[in-house]
């Protein structure tokens, strides 16, 4: 049942992903590429690149795109609802309870304990993009583009949209 799978693929990352949208990306990759195989690593990277170049939250853009790609408008709707609804309902339904416990060490511990796991999944995803780059662009171009974008993003704090755009131009000219 594709709709149910789509629901689960986005419900699970969003109900365990502490740390906002970015934390959810490796969890979504684990479902969409790893578990269900709806996308290749290359397609996931392309989607993520475009997602990072456009404004608005990344988690819902990914859900809306993957959902539509897999099962049309109904699929997009289900994936976006699975992303947005659970935590929003929790917030609306349990605001008082949450408010009373907002300084609780247990609650603080929850997001702290999840972080190392997210970090290791992000590291794994970085590595998988590297090996994908080797297969596609090749070692030389991967290192070149990687180094240039690292300098642009980290040293000069250039906006991701410009870096993605520059990479698109480079790819169109030299990798075609």
């Amino acid at each position: 049942m594709i709709y149910f799978e789509l629901f689960l693929a986005f419900f699970i990352p969003n109900i365990i992903g502490y740390g906002g949208g970015p934390a959810i990306i490796p969890l979504i990759e684990a479902e969409v590429v790893g578990r269900y195989g709806w996308m290749s690593a290359q397609e996931f990277a392309e989607t993520l690149a475009l997602g990072n170049a456009l404004p608005s939250p990344i988690a819902t853009k990914m859900a809306g795109y993957v959902g539509y790609d897999v099962a049309g408008i109904a699929g997009a709707l289900i994936a976006v609802l699975a992303t947005v609804l659970p935590s929003l309902l929790l917030m609306l339904g349990a605001l008082g309870l949450l408010y009373r416990h907002r300084h609780s060490p247990r609650v603080k511990r929850m997001s702290q304990w999840v972080r190392p796991v997210i970090a290791v999944m992000m590291a794994w995803l970085t590595w998988s993009f590297f090996s994908e780059g080797l297969v596609g662009a090749g070692l030389l171009h991967t290192l070149l583009i990687g180094a240039a974008s690292a300098i642009a993003l980290l040293r000069f704090r250039l906006h991701p949209a410009f870096v993605i755009l520059a990479a698109l131009v480079y790819g169109g000219l030299f990798l075609g």
């Binding site: 969003n14 475009l50 976006v80 794994w124």
Partner: protein, 191 residues
């Protein structure tokens, strides 16, 4: 201001459309924009209320940039307000994304378009590396070097070598964090 009795659906829509369209860099980067609209421009919430709501939103998993608009929309104009706020934030860019990627995959066989797709992979690699360092540093500051590294290694081995679903590992961690009696601040490396 001129019609206090009427629910401000249009204001809500435009306020969150603006946060969605100008919110580059994912959800967490959008918080100041939400504050600008909700506290400064429309005065729907006071600064203190906004900070409290943000703190509560951060206690929950999932994207922050839909929890805030959804909650604020509901508080100001009920279920309809909640829907309007969330749709205004997410819908325009979902449609844009689908349109752009549809064009892209239609011309994927053209050599230079194919090259464009390959060239963005190393950029995404760098961005993911940046996020990795970000989460690692936060983790190191909260839990310390040793505990963070031990947890990362154990979790990595369980996910990628043993093949356990990451949801199961994080789920166990979340439950342990919630249920275990808090004693010392830093302990418990593994689920």
């Amino acid at each position: 201001m001129s019609h206090p009795a009427q629910a401000p659906y249009a204001d809500l829509f435009w306020a969150f459309l603006r946060t969605g369209l100008f919110g580059f860099g994912g959800g967490p980067a959008m918080i100041p924009l939400v504050q600008q609209e909700v506290v400064k421009r429309h005065a729907w919430l006071s600064d203190e209320e906004f900070v409290d709501i943000l703190a509560i939103a951060n206690m929950l998993p999932g994207p922050i940039a839909t929890k805030m608009p959804g909650y604020i929309g509901f508080r100001i104009a009920g279920v309809a307000g909640c829907l309007i706020a969330v749709i205004a934030v997410v819908l325009p860019m979902i449609v844009t994304m689908n349109a752009l990627l549809a064009i892209f995959s239609h011309y994927r066989d053209v050599a230079w378009i194919h090259g464009m797709g390959q060239a963005v992979v190393p950029v995404v690699m760098v961005m993911m590396g940046q996020l990795t360092m970000d989460f690692w540093n936060k983790s190191r500051m909260a839990l310390g070097w040793g505990v963070s590294l031990a947890m990362a290694i154990v979790a990595g081995a369980l996910i990628y070598l043993v093949g356990i679903h990451p949801g199961a590992i994080i789920g166990v961690l979340l439950f342990t964090a919630l249920l275990l009696r808090p004693t010392h601040r830093h302990e418990q490396a593994t689920p």
